[in-house]
C-alpha cells in the first residue's frame, strides 16, 4: 500500500495548541501541503498574525516572522520588496486583517503588492476569548454582543473581500469554507492558486476561509461546521470574488 495522505514536510510533527475542531489546524496543514507541492518551502517566508495563530511559526517548517496585531501586510510588503525572489504570505484572522489592520490590508492591496494572503474568517476574536469581530453575523452572540450583534449598536458584518475586489491592484480573491472535506479541498485549490499567482508575479491574492471556532461559538466541532454551512455562508457567499 502506498501512503496517499501524510503530514507535509512544511508542517512540523508537533501537536498544536488549538482547541479540538479548530479550523486553524486544517488551514495550517493546507498551506503546508501547497508549499510542499509547489516546492517552495525553502524560499517561503510566512507572517504569523496576532490571534489564535500567533505561534504558527512553531508549526511551520520555513522562515517566519511575527507581526504586531493587524500589521502583517505592512511587514509582508517590506519583506517582499526587500526580497522579491522569496515567496511571502500572511496568515491573518478577521480581527487582525479586517479590524485593527484594515488600513494596512487595503493599502497593501491598493499598491498591488505581489503577496499571498490567507484570511481566516471565524466571525469572532478567538485569541482573546470570543469578542465580536468585524465579521460577526447579525444576531450572533459574543462576549461583547451579549444579546447578539445588533446593526444599530454594533454595525454590520464587514465583507472586506468584496471591498478589496474593487481595487485595481488586486489580482485574485476567493472565498472558501472548511465545512466539509469537499470544501476543504476547494480551499486547498484556492490557496494553491494564490501562491501560484505570486510565483507568476500576478499581484495581490487573497483567500478568505470560513473557519470554525467551536470554543467561542459554544458549539461542538461538527455543529460548528454546520453553522458555517447554514448561517455563515449566507452572509459570506462562497466563490471567486475576483
Amino acid at each position: 500500500m502506498e501512503k496517499i495522505f501524510f503530514r507535509p514536510e512544511a508542517l512540523y510533527d508537533v501537536p498544536t495548541h488549538y482547541c479540538p475542531g479548530c479550523g486553524h489546524g486544517i488551514v495550517h496543514r493546507l498551506v503546508a501541503q501547497v508549499i510542499d507541492q509547489l516546492g517552495i518551502r525553502e524560499k517561503t517566508i510566512g507572517i504569523a498574525p496576532v490571534g489564535c495563530a500567533v505561534v504558527a511559526y512553531d508549526y511551520w517548517n520555513f522562515d517566519c516572522s511575527e507581526a504586531a496585531h493587524g500589521r502583517a501586510l505592512a511587514v509582508a510588503t517590506a519583506i517582499k520588496r526587500v526580497r522579491p525572489q522569496n515567496i511571502v504570505f500572511t496568515y491573518q484572522g478577521d480581527g487582525d486583517l479586517a479590524a485593527i489592520g484594515t488600513n494596512e490590508t487595503i493599502h497593501a492591496a491598493s499598491r498591488g503588492e505581489n503577496l499571498t494572503v490567507i484570511f481566516i474568517n471565524n466571525a469572532v476574536y478567538g485569541m482573546t476569548g470570543g469578542q465580536m469581530a468585524p465579521t460577526t453575523l447579525l444576531g450572533q452572540k459574543t462576549s461583547t454582543t451579549i444579546d447578539g450583534r445588533d446593526r444599530e449598536k454594533h454595525g454590520y458584518p464587514l465583507k472586506i473581500s468584496e471591498m478589496l475586489a474593487l481595487l485595481p491592484g488586486v489580482y485574485y480573491i476567493e472565498r472558501v469554507s472548511l465545512h466539509n472535506p469537499q470544501e476543504v479541498l476547494k480551499t486547498k485549490r484556492a490557496i494553491r492558486q494564490a501562491f501560484e499567482n505570486q510565483i507568476n508575479n500576478s499581484g495581490f491574492s487573497l483567500v478568505e476561509i470560513l473557519s470554525p471556532c467551536p470554543t467561542c461559538w459554544g458549539l461542538n466541532p461538527k455543529e460548528s461546521l454546520d453553522w458555517i454551512r447554514d448561517y455563515m455562508q449566507k452572509e459570506f457567499p462562497l466563490g471567486r470574488i475576483k
Binding site: H17, Y18, C19, P20, C52, V54, M127, G129
Partner: protein, 178 residues
C-alpha cells in the same frame, strides 16, 4: 488561618465555578479571600485552573506557588500540579479520570466524582462533589454555609440544577468526612 487551594481540570469541568463558590462562601464568613484564574491562551484546549486563598489576614499575592490543598479533576491537571502541594498537604482527586499512586508526603482523597455526578444525572456536577469532599475533609466552611451560597448564586427559576448541585455537594461531603 490561611488556606491556599489550587483547583484544576479541563475546560468544561467547572473548576472556575468551584473556586468562585468557595470564595463567595469565604467572603460571607467575613474572611479575606482571593480568587485567581488561569487566563488567556493558557486556557485553549488544555487544562484550566484557578487559585483560591482564604485567610484571616490581608492576602498578598493571589498566586499560589505551593498549595495547602489541590482539587484535581482530570489527569493532565494532575500531571501539571502534583508537585505544587506542600508536604502534608491535601490532594482531592477525581479518580474517574485520574489516579494517584501511593504517597506519603501528602494526604490523598480520591473518589470517582465524575461517576458520582453521572449517577446523579448530570456530569457537570462532578465539581461540586469534589467541593463537598473538600469541605467534608477540611471543614473551613460548613455545608450549610455553602448551600446558602448556592441558593444565592443560582439563576432564578433553575431549581432543578440547584438541587442536583446540592446533592453532589452532600455526597462529596460524606466521602470527605468519612
Amino acid at each position: 488561618m490561611i488556606e491556599r487551594i489550587i483547583i484544576a481540570g479541563s475546560g468544561g469541568q467547572g473548576v472556575m465555578l468551584l473556586g468562585k463558590v468557595l470564595a463567595q462562601a469565604a467572603m460571607r464568613q467575613g474572611r479575606f479571600v482571593t480568587w485567581f484564574p488561569a487566563y488567556g491562551p493558557e486556557v485553549r484546549g488544555g487544562t484550566s485552573y484557578c487559585m483560591v486563598i482564604i485567610s484571616d489576614w490581608e492576602i498578598g499575592s493571589p498566586y499560589i506557588n505551593k498549595a495547602d490543598t489541590l482539587i484535581i479533576l482530570n489527569n493532565p491537571s494532575l500531571e501539571r500540579f502534583k508537585g505544587r502541594v506542600k508536604d502534608e498537604g491535601l490532594l482531592i482527586l477525581n479518580s474517574s479520570l485520574a489516579k494517584a499512586g501511593a504517597n506519603k508526603r501528602i494526604k490523598v482523597l480520591q473518589f470517582p466524582f465524575t461517576d458520582i455526578a453521572l449517577k446523579l444525572g448530570n456530569i457537570k456536577v462532578a465539581n461540586m462533589a469534589a467541593l463537598g469532599c473538600y469541605l467534608g475533609a477540611k471543614k473551613i466552611i460548613t455545608i450549610q454555609e455553602m448551600l446558602e451560597v448556592f441558593r444565592f448564586m443560582a439563576p432564578a427559576g433553575k431549581t432543578n440544577i440547584l438541587e442536583v448541585n446540592e446533592k453532589a455537594l452532600q455526597e462529596g461531603a460524606k466521602l470527605g468526612d468519612g
